[in-house]
Every structure is written in structure tokens, then in C-alpha cells.
Amino acid sequence: MSQTRTIMIECLRYDPEQDQAPHYRTYEVPFTDEMSVLEGLQYIKDHLDGSLTFRWSCRMAICGSCGCMVNHQPILSCQSFLRDYYPARIRVEPLEHFPIVKDLVIDQSDFLGKLESVTPYLVPAQPLTPEDGPNLQTPRQIEDYLGYAQCINCLLCYAACPQYGLNHEFTGPAALALLARYNADSRDAGQKTRMAVVNAEEGVWGCTLVGLCSEVCPKHVDPARAINRNKINSTQDYFLRFLMPFGRGS
């Protein structure tokens, strides 16, 4: 058992039903080397202030629930350790660019709508039945999309994206990366339905390749790459529709 030290955790608190504006409250939290920021928040909830509200579930960077801003950086609180911030105090805030439901809990509705808009599921060329058997893929075909398929919808990329901050119409990194994921899947034939999202001003063209989305992604999805590869597809689609007006375009 490692030595116990004490760190100051400054938390944003906001209850829209009670408070005029968000404010900060500081807690003294004893911690050991193996304690994550999430465990620090759980300590506060269990021992200091039961009203502190935050989302969490798996505690191992799989569920994507515990994203928050720590010292203004979007991180998964289960994946960051208090020992790395000590002796400085840490400031914990809800993910940027989203409305606050309460304390560290944000309203994800905007993202969920955008996720739905990219048709985030396989669209088969022909309807399949169980009699058709398994839909086989080679390891190479899996490799084409596997990186993008790692997304856990934690929304750190939306909190990092300055374009989403400036303009909430922008479809955003995770949704556009998932769009690329399904387009890259050999079992999918839904590219054409997704092209309207890609081609729009608020689609890939809302991105100016700041690239912070890819830096903060805890699963190394690289949304910036996905988006900017789709700029090439969108450009081809833009010009080719003049050459093949009946076969393409959207």
C-alpha cells in the first residue's frame, strides 16, 4: 500500500434548478498512487459531498462515460491519475461545448442527433437472411475500418474541437469518424446515403484540421485523418458529378 497524500480538487458545481451560475468548490482529497481522478471524485461523493454529480461506469476506458475537463484538458477521469497532478491542485469541469445538466454531467443530445445522421450501421447492398450465412471479411478488409471502430463516444474530441465550439452545426469529429468507419467496411453499401452529410458545409468542410481531436482521443481513433480523407472523396464527388451527371452526385 503506497503512502497517502492529500490533493486539492476544485470542482465545478452547477444545479440549474438552484444556482444562478456555475461556481467552484474545493475539496481536500486523500489519495494513494494508484488512485485515478475518477476515484478522487468518488471519494468526494462518498465522504465529503454526496450531492456531487458525475457519470461513470466501467473505470477502464471502455465505456466513455467519465470524460471531463481536468485543468482545461479533455480527459477520461478513469485514465488519469491524481499522482500526476500532485502537488498542484486540479480543477475538474464538465466537457466543454456542451450544456450542463448538473455539475459534471453534460447533455449529449446534440451529439446523439449527429451520430444518427451519419447512418452509423451497416447498410447491406441486398437484404440478407440467416440462410445467406456469415458475412466474411479478410484481415485486410477488417484493417480498413478497425481503427475508426474503436470510438467509445466519450466526446473528448467534441470538447477539444474549436470548430464545434465556434459552430454547433458542425457534425464533429466522432460522428464523422464513424461515418468513415462504415464507409470503409466491405460489408457496407451505404456510402451514397452518407455522402450528403460528407458534402455539406457542416460536414467535412466544417473542419480546418486543427487536429486536437486526434490528440485527445483515448482510443487513438484519429478523427482528423478520417475527416480529411473524406475531403478528398467530397472533392471527387463535387467535380465528377459534372462528368457523370446521371451516375453520381447527391
Binding site: P162, Q163, L166, A196, V197, N199, A200, E201, E202, G203, W205, T208, V210, K231, S234, T235, Y238, F239, S250
Partner: protein, 120 residues
């Protein structure tokens, strides 16, 4: 209903300009800025007016020069337009006109001068 963005037009000019800036730009800086002044690999006559004037008196090199200058300008204009947006200055029609308009005007001047090099 989503409307299709027309950005592919300027983005392709931006992309082409970026490729030229990375490949040709660095090479030109190396040759004109370092190798020729230091007399490395090039004789003193390489940058003489007569030899350069002779080269760009031919239509193809003259056109190539104008196209490269134009793409550099569009690359810069696109970057400035989006950087201003990143800095919180909202993208407007006026700003778009100022950025891409000056690149288009500069391209026109480059083409005109290239034409004059060939004709006169």
C-alpha cells in the same frame, strides 16, 4: 435539407498550392537563397537576367510560373481565411471575397505578366 458546400473548388487549389509550396518552394529557397549565392553547384550565370529572361520567354515555363504563383496565392488565401475563422473572426462573404479575391487578382496579374514575357 443539407446544402452541398462549394469548398472543394478552393480546397483543391489550396491542396495543389500546398503540394507545390512543399516541393517547389523549399527547392527554390535552397537554390535561389543558398546554393546560387554560395556558388555551390550553380555557376554565377544561373541567376543572370538574360538566362532567366530567355527561359521564361518560352510559353510553357512562363505559364508554369504563373500557375505556381497563382496556386501559392490560393493556398495562402485559404489558410488566412480559415485561420481568421479559428481566431474567432466569423467567416463572412466580405472576408471570403477579400481572401480569394486577392488571390484571383494576383493570379490575373501573374498570368498577364507571363503573357507579356512571352510576347515582348
Amino acid at each position: 435539407m443539407r446544402t452541398r458546400s462549394h469548398e472543394p473548388i478552393v480546397w483543391s487549389l489550396f491542396g495543389a498550392g500546398g503540394v507545390f509550396a512543399a516541393l517547389l518552394g523549399t527547392m527554390l529557397v535552397l537554390i535561389i537563397g543558398i546554393l546560387v549565392p554560395m556558388g555551390l553547384g550553380f555557376g554565377p550565370e544561373a541567376m543572370h537576367y538574360d538566362s532567366l529572361r530567355g527561359l521564361f520567354g518560352h510559353p510553357l515555363p512562363a505559364l508554369g510560373l504563373a500557375v505556381v504563383i497563382s496556386l501559392f496565392l490560393f493556398h495562402g488565401a485559404h489558410r488566412i481565411y480559415h485561420t481568421l475563422h479559428d481566431l474567432g473572426i466569423p467567416a463572412s462573404k466580405k472576408m471570403m471575397l477579400a481572401c480569394y479575391g486577392s488571390a484571383a487578382a494576383g493570379s490575373g496579374v501573374a498570368l498577364l505578366l507571363a503573357g507579356m514575357l512571352v510576347v515582348f
